[in-house]
């Protein structure tokens, strides 16, 4: 059964279909959330919300606009970022920021190498100009807004904004051919 058919079964309140979606994509959804939140319990919470939302609003997934994996990862990312920016974790975030500021040179390279990404993806990232790569990594995996990224990197906001967009455009070529886990 394809992902689109699975989601249609989810729309019919078939719990077994949601369980299958979880088996196929739950690990990736969890992995990304944990990557951003650095906290297993918080990542669990995100995964739970993402799947509950799919259960309640399956029509939000449009198979014409990308794979289910892609959709769920975007949901996971958005929710994780919400948590990072929420009042509750602001303090933790400030502590984290001050810790990073204290290390005079925030180690972007290390952040990149921490990524558990496949060879092709880390290869494509490695091909990016340094300033594009660090801006994307901070925004996407750090959960920072581009204004915060600008502060961290000591660059103008407009520059960061443009670099991220240019970097994503540039990644599209090498990554576009990969596709993303449609059927796991």
């Amino acid at each position: 059964m394809g992902d689109a058919a699975l989601v249609f079964a989810v729309a019919r309140y078939e719990e077994e279909a949601l369980a299958e979606v979880y088996r196929r994509h739950g690990g990736a959804v969890h992995g990304l959330a944990r990557r951003l939140l650095v906290d297993d319990a918080a990542a669990d919470e995100v995964v739970q919300e993402v799947f509950l939302r799919l259960w309640k609003q399956p029509d939000r997934f449009d198979p014409d606009r990308g794979s289910l994996r892609s959709f769920l990862l975007a949901q996971s990312h958005g929710r994780a970022v919400d948590l990072i920016r929420s009042e509750a974790s602001r303090r933790r975030r400030e502590e984290r920021d001050s810790r990073r500021t204290a290390h005079a040179a925030y180690d972007i390279e290390r952040e990149v190498w921490d990524l558990e990404v496949s060879d092709k993806i880390s290869g494509a990232l490695g091909e990016l100009p340094e300033e594009q790569r660090s801006a994307i990594v901070l925004a996407y995996f750090g959960g920072y807004t581009y204004r915060e990224v600008a502060t961290i990197l000591g660059e103008p906001e407009g520059t960061v904004k443009s670099r991220i967009r240019a970097g994503l455009n540039r990644l599209r070529g090498p990554l576009g051919a990969l596709g993303i886990g449609a059927e796991a």
Partner: protein, 281 residues
């Protein structure tokens, strides 16, 4: 801070960071408003998102215990598949399928039996409507998009699944609400831009084997049969060839009629292109 006065170029510059969830909330709103009306920018965001998903696609096994928590939380959801079992609970399957033909004539001799039967049906309907209202009350009916998931569940029992759900999801479809002047009964239908329509699990009481519900397209005083629904209507596909402005359902003798012989149980106006019908709350 930014405001809604951003130019198209300003907005385009934000698309990359927007796709990474890295914009400020006020900017996110401005981008979303723009995306709603700019397919080009929407396509760019989708491209960025799929690239981001590749970066974030960290291979990992799904945590085992977590599924149990998710499954437990599903039970908190009170939404029941709308329309299922409304007409008495039993599953009578695909009644409509074997009565699609539309034979002409031959039923006049039985005309005398029709009135009493319709009366019986209406009485049964009045009795059933309490049940129907109870079920309908579960679902808040407002915007078409909000309803798609509930309706998708309702559409579930037929092979027309996918196409009916697609018609529902298509903003150019018209949603028709057929209501009764005497009861609170409501039957819903969706009609796609190409004239293909779906009646969605009509919550009408069963008529018994020797009667059928029949769907009509109305245009002025003219009624065109759109098909026989059987005695226990479920999801039903129909096609509108001629211009019609309304839909109606009557109860007819098994085999159907050329023209309605009983007063319509429910009627509804087809809204102009893609607008929602005004639905009773």
């Amino acid at each position: 801070m930014s405001d809604l006065q951003m130019s198209h170029e300003d907005l385009r510059e934000l698309l990359g960071v927007y796709a990474l969830d890295a914009v400020e909330p006020d900017e996110a709103l401005a981008v979303e408003a723009h995306l709603a009306e700019c397919p080009q920018c929407r396509a760019e965001v989708e491209e960025h998102r799929s690239v981001a998903s590749l970066l974030g696609n960290v291979g990992a096994a799904a945590p085992i215990g977590l599924w149990d928590q998710i499954a437990a939380s599903l039970d908190d959801d009170p939404v029941a598949p709308f329309g299922a079992g409304v007409s008495g609970g039993a599953d009578h399957g695909e009644v409509a399928d074997h009565v699609l033909s539309f034979p002409a004539g031959g039923r006049d001799v039985r005309a005398a039996r029709r009135r009493p039967r319709a009366a019986v049906i209406l009485t049964a309907m009045a009795a059933a409507c309490f049940l129907v209202v109870g079920v309908a009350g579960v679902v808040t009916i407002r915007q078409q998009q909000d309803r798609v998931d509930d309706l998708a569940a309702q559409v579930a029992s037929t092979r027309d699944d996918t196409s009916a759900a697609q018609a529902l999801a298509d903003p150019s479809s018209s949603l028709v609400s057929l209501t009764s002047s005497v009861d609170d009964i409501e039957v819903r239908a969706v009609i796609g831009a190409d004239g293909t329509g779906y009646l969605l699990g009509a919550p009408l009481p069963e008529t018994g084997a020797d009667a059928t519900y029949q769907l009509w397209g109305l245009n002025g005083t003219r009624a065109v049969s759109l098909g026989l629904l059987g005695s226990d209507p479920r999801v039903f596909q129909f096609h509108i060839e001629d211009p019609v402005t309304g839909l109606a359902i009557t109860a007819e003798q098994a085999g159907g009629a050329d023209q309605p012989t009983t007063d319509p149980l429910v009627t509804g106006v087809i809204p102009a292109n893609g607008e929602d019908a005004t639905l009773p709350s």
